[in-house]
Each structure stands twice: as C-alpha cells, then as structure tokens.
Amino acid sequence: MTSVRRWNPIAIVIAALVAVPLAAWAQSDSVAAKPAAPAQPAAAATPAQPGTRDECMTCHLDQDSPEAIAYKNDIHRSRGVTCADCHGGDPHSDDQDAAMNKAKGFIGVPKKQKIPLLCGSCHGGQDSGFTSRYKLKNVLAEYHGSVHERSLDANPSGAQCVSCHGVHSIVSVTDAKSPVHPSRVVDTCAKCHGDARYMRDFNPSLPVDQKEKYLTSIHGQRHAKGDWKVATCVSCHSNHAVQQVKDPRSPVYPTQIPATCARCHANEKYMAGYDIPTTQYRDYKESVHGIALLKKSDLNAPACNSCHGNHGAAPPGVASVIAVCGQCHQSNEELYQKSPHQAVFAGKKLPGCVVCHSNHGVRATSDAMVAFVKPSPCADCHRNDSSDKAAPAMLRIRGLLDSLTAGQKEAEAVLDRAENLGMDIADARYSLKDVNQARVKARVAIHSFAEKEFEEAARPGIVVAASARAAGKEAIHEHRFRRQGLVVSTLIVTLAALLLWLKIRQIERRQRDEIV
C-alpha cells in the first residue's frame, strides 16, 4: 500500500506537466483576490528533491506563462513541490496529452472551495513527506470552523489559503514580499474587509473602515513608520482560526480581549522601548471592571477596547477621558460637567474621572472615598480646616453617607432579630432594596459635588431604612405581644379546665352520695 501511495502521485505529476499550463493560463488573473479552484485535492505529494526536472515548468516557461514565471520564485518550488502536486497530471512527461491526462489525475485549476483541502494535504497534519521534512503545522485544523471557512462554504469567493497567501509566488511569511508579512497583512485583510461591495455578500452589517481606523491608531501610526512589532489584524484576530467577534472562541470576544491585548502589553520584554507601563492587565484584572467582565462574565463591563477603541486603538486624551467614561456612566458625566471640579480639573489639565478613580485599576467605590485623609482622593486637594471652603459641605455629605449606611445596618440587624423570632418581615426586607437604590443614586449625585443634589438622592434611603427598622421593631413587639397573649389565654383556659374538673368532681361526689 505504501508503495502505491508513493508512486501514484508521481504518475499524476507526469500527466499534469502537460495539462497545467493551459488550465493555469486560463485562470491567470489576480489569484489572491480570485483564487483558482481545483475540482478536488491532488493526492498527497511525495517530496521531490529541489531542482528535480518538472516538464510542466519547461513547457509553461517556454510559453511565458505568468504563473510559471511566478512559480520560479515560489517557496514551494524551492522545496520540490511541482505543479502536478497541486494540479495533478504527470510532470515527467513532455507530451502535453500525456502530462495533462485526466486519467493520470490531472485536475486543471483547483476549485476554490477545494483549495483548503488541497493545501491541507501538506499543511493539514497528515504526513505527506513534506509535512515532516519541513515541520509543517496543521494549519488546516485551525482553518476548520473559522469564519472564513464558513464564508467559503457559503460562497466560492470566500476567503481561503490563496486569498491571503497568493498563488504561484508564495514566499515565507517572514519575507517582506509575502502578503501576510506584518508590513503587508493589513492591506491584505483590507483587500476584502475594506471592500463594501465584496463584504455585502458575507456580512452586510460589518464595517469596512477597519483599515482607516487602524491608520489613526497608535499601532497604525507606528506601523506606517516601519515598526513591524506593533499589532496588526492577525495579532488580535489570529490568522487561520479567525472567528466572528461574537464567538466566545474569538480572541477578540469581550472576555478574551484583555488577555489578547496583554499578550503584548503585559510583556515587559516585548514592550521594552515603547516607554509605556506593562501593568495595565494586572491592574485591570483586580479592578471593578475586570472582576465584572472576567469573573462575573458580565459582557456589559468594559474591556480594553471600550475605552481605547479597537481598530483605532489609542489612549483617550486628557480632555476626552470624561466622555469615554460617560459612555457608560452617563449621569456621572452630566453631573461632573456641571460641577465646580470640571473647570478646575480642565484648567490643570487633569484627566477628570481618572484623578479620583484611576484608569485601569478602577476599584469599587466606598463611603471612605469622601474623607480628608488618604487614601481618599479628596485628601489630595482638600483640608478639613477653615481655609477650605468645601470642607463643611464635604463633612455633611460624608455625614449623610454614614447615616445611610448605619441606618441600613441597623435596620438589617433589627429585621434579622425579628426573622429569627419567626416573624414575617419580608416587606420590610424588600424595602431595603430602595436603600441600596438610594445609595447608588447618592454615589452618582456625588459627582455634582453639591450638597443639595446629594441630599436629595440620599435622604429617601435614610427614610426607608428608618421605616424598615421601625417595621422590624414592631414585628419584635408583635412577637412579644403574641407570647404574652398566649400566656394569658393559656392561663384562662387552664383555669376554666380546672374549674370544670372541680365541677365534675362535685357532680360525681353528689351522685355517689345520692346512691349511698
């Protein structure tokens, strides 16, 4: 069996020597955009020695075939892959009819939807001889299930191997001439993803301005200056296993994005020379945003791209931080824009929200944030003395916050006691949700940095907490009343029973006396 497998392709190659030029000639335009389409993959080729005579090339070069000319410098030719390895036929025959004989496996131009399998005969994990000799990766497995494979299944013009790598002039990805070299890969992707007419056939709602955005990004700007280390399309989307963004397997699915960005941005060695920190991912993972997204899988929580953009990724400028945070924290932004802090921070070129909350390591807020001592951010500017005009308002705001928290704690403690006594305090317990709601509103209102607005938000919560506490106390009182009522009623009934017992004894004694 082994020998048959080994010799059949060679016979096919000989036949292909004659057939390939004609078929290839007919399909010789822009192969990257409009890849050739084989009917079926040729059989796995046996590696020929580089420099082995290839009659296909001989004839087609004689005819100045552009494909043959291009193939002279193709990496596959240098590794001994003949025309017949892809097109079938007999590469050893100089007779066109014999070389391009279908009986010898000649398939002409491979059908587009068969190309991945054809390339996969060497790049698909199955050992064709080339696979082990050149340590080829199983790229086909990565391609399987990708969004590009699905597009190809649906439409022959979907992306497959030659769409990106080209054909007949394929060179190593490390070669600057390769369409997938870092210097050219953005253009290669944009060839389809920047073509609205083409993309309409696959995903009409997908934007086609990624390249334009990319060129405005820090990545794109550095890339334009010849920095090939910066991220390109494949750095984030992967290359062969590209998935839709909404697919959880995609490296740019919301929960995957931080780790994807961190592959470069958390790598001190890789980032050396860029003069930016590499602690963002570590800070983000511990932040309230990171916990929500990565631990609680809350897809509404922001990932790196929510603030920095994705294709146009760049740090938000000082002036735009508030607008960026305001995408989600809209009310906070509106209140802040009207607050006295806005003008002061803008004047000092301070980055708004980040001043108090930091950027990547945003922590959950607490009442302790409003204070005159560190770690409160207020302590950076404010002092609790007469020289600080804001101090009295700060103290009152903090007092209201403390009242809200203490009121809730007390109410919960009283309700716990009542519940432990077996009393139904579900309504009061439920009302405590309003206290939490008031706390949320108060913490939003604090961005107005105005006592009145803050009190309007916090006061209802304080009232509800007091009311819940009163309901708990009433339940405890009711429990006491019930027990006391039980004691009284039990005593009355017992007394009645005792009197009845005495009456029975009296009656029976009289009956006995009457008998006697």
């Binding site: 139904d424 017992t494 009456k503 029975i504 029976e508």
Partner: protein, 358 residues
C-alpha cells in the same frame, strides 16, 4: 335566674319538642372501665373538625384562589390581617391534629373491637370520614400555592395515576389537566371548601346518629363479668363535661403549637423551577410513600409501583371490611388475630413514617 332558664326552656319546648332528646340524654350511660379514655378521641376529632370549620370560614373571607392571588392572599392573611397569622396557624395545626386524632380514634375502636355487630355501619362511616379527612388534608395542602405543596401535590397525583385502569382518569380529574396548574388549584379549592365539607358533614351526622342510638360499645370483658361489676357513668353531664374538659386541654395544646411554632408559608410556586430536594408528602401519607420506595422496579410482569398501589388498595379495602372478615364477630368471641393484625399495621405505619421523616 332559674325563672329565666325555665322560661327559655318553655319557649323552646313550645316550638320544638326536645323532651325526647332530654329524656334520652338523661338516661344514656357510658361504660366506665380502664379503656374509657379512648372514647374521648371521637369527641376530640369532632372538636378539631369544629375548629377547622370555624377557622376555615375566617380564612375564606380573605383567601383568593388563583396563580397570582393564592400565595399572595395567604401572605396577606398572615402579615396584614389582625390575628390572621393565628387563624392560619391554628387551621394548619388543627388539620394535622385532626387526622392524628381520627387515627387514634380508629385504632382504639379497632383494638376494643367496637366495630363488631351491631356497629358495622359506624365503622364503615368512620372509615369514610377518615378518607374524607385525608382528602381535606391533600386538597388543603395545595391552597397556599407554595413550592413544597406544589411539588408534593405533583408527586401525590402522579402516584394516583399508577392505579391500573382508573388511575389516569382520576389523576386527570384531580389535576383538571395533564399537569398540576392553577386549574388544579381551583379544583382543589372547590373540593376543600364545598364538596368534601358537604359530604363529610352528612357522613358525620350519620356516624354520630349511629353512636347515639347504639350507645357506646361495651368492653368485650363485660360479657364474662356479672352485671353488678359493670360500672358506667351518665352521658350527661358526666361524659359531656369530661369531653369538654379534654377539649379545653386540647385547645391549650393547639394554641401553644400555633403560637410557638407558627406554620410556615414557604416560597411561592415557580412551576418552571426544578423540584427542590427532599420533596415528601404530608406525614399521614408518608408511610405509603416510603413503602412504595421499597418495592422493586419490576415484580414479574408488573411494575413494582403498580403492585404497591394494588397492595395498599387491597389492604385499605380489607381494613374497611374488617367487621365482615372478622370471623368471630358473630359469636362475639375473642380474636387475637385481629390484635396481631392491628399491632402489625400500627408498627408498619409508625416505623415507615419515622424512616420517611428522616
């Protein structure tokens, strides 16, 4: 005061001839022996029934059957209505004590052989009252529309479906559909507050009429002792007053249980939620539920569960017909076998209930 009493009696006498009743009660006697205590459980059961009717009527004033109202209205009763918590708790506790009391009453009648001629009809009617009381419990359990009740009813009605032939239609009738739903709730409500009470009251009337006309059963041992040694007490006032005394004690116990251990409402039904673990029927069905678990999956060509249901069906029928198959009944002779069967049944019920509770 005596004049007022006399005038009242005269006023009634003019309109209703109660003299035969007074005459009957004044001459009626109750055997007085070591087993007399057990006579009182009939009265205690009657007391619980009265409590159930009274508290049930009060609950009716607020209860609203329906998916969005059943649980909420019971919740309203126990949280907002003055003493609603007490009424509901008493109703729930008395329901259980009612069935316990009926069981005690039934076994005391069984072991004292009070079912023998001429009291067969009293036994039959008593058995029907027990079945109706269980129906009261089963239908009333669902009415608060809480999670435990919902799933227990689901299990209970599923078991009914196992009965060959008639099981499916009975389950369909009980559930008013394929599954337990608000339609089932409405049906159980109708059964609980109208149909079962009406039948129960009629059968209870017959049961009490039989007891009053036939008198209390005299102990078997009296047949062998001289008449002079047979002690008795007047039904009125002695027995009635002792009955009332026991009612007062039971009332105290009921009040303590209802106040110290208020009956929980639980959480509202979510029919789409998975059944919580450890779903069990009420304690009085537990021995059957537990026993069914011990039947193998297959017994010959039949499902073990079907065999179990048939077994309990036949056992219940035999229990109902005990005056008929107690061969020594006509002679009034001692029958130790009856005692052994009774002890066996009591042990079976107690042990399996205890295992089921665990």
């Amino acid at each position: 005061m005596p004049n007022l009493l006399e005038k009242t009696r005269e006023w009634v006498r003019e309109r209703l001839n109660i003299d035969p009743v007074i005459e009957f009660a004044s001459h009626k006697t109750v055997p007085s022996w070591k087993g007399s205590f057990w006579y009182y459980f009939g009265g205690v059961s009657l007391f619980f029934f009265i409590v159930q009717v009274a508290t049930g009527i009060l609950l009716l004033m607020y209860y609203q059957p329906g998916e969005k109202t059943a649980f909420e209205s019971v919740r309203f009763i126990v949280t907002k209505v003055k003493f609603g918590w007490l009424i509901r708790s008493i109703h729930s506790w008395a329901a259980n004590l009612f069935i316990l009391s009926i069981f005690i009453h039934m076994f005391s009648v069984f072991f004292t052989k009070a079912f023998r001629r001429p009291r067969e009809l009293t036994w039959y009617s008593g058995f029907i009252l027990l079945a109706l009381a269980l129906g009261f419990g089963f239908s009333g359990y669902l009415l608060p529309w809480n999670t435990l009740a919902y799933f227990a009813t689901k299990v209970g009605t599923t078991i009914v479906a196992v009965v060959p032939g008639i099981g499916g239609p009975i389950m369909q009738f009980l559930r008013e559909g394929k599954d337990v739903s608000t339609a089932t709730l409405t049906r159980f409500y109708g059964l609980h507050v109208a149909i079962i009470p009406a039948i129960f009251t009629a059968v209870l009337g017959l049961h009490m009429l039989l007891i009053q006309t036939q008198g209390m059963h005299e102990p078997e041992s009296w047949k062998t002792i001289p008449a002079a040694q047979r002690k008795s007490m007047p039904f009125f006032p002695n027995f009635i007053l002792r009955d009332v005394l026991l009612w007062l004690i039971v009332l105290n116990v009921l009040a303590i249980l209802a106040v110290v251990f208020p009956w929980e409402l639980g959480t509202k039904v979510d029919p789409f939620a998975p059944a919580p673990g450890g779903i069990k029927p009420e304690w009085y069905f537990l021995f059957m539920y537990q026993a069914l678990k011990y039947f193998p999956a297959k017994l010959g060509p039949m499902d073990g569960e079907v065999v179990g249901i048939i077994f309990f069906g036949i056992a219940g029928l035999l229990w109902f017909l005990v005056p008929w198959w107690d061969a020594k009944t006509p002679q009034g002779a001692r029958n130790r076998m009856i005692n052994y069967v009774g002890i066996g049944v009591v042990l079976f019920m107690i042990v399996l209930t205890a295992v089921g509770v665990r």
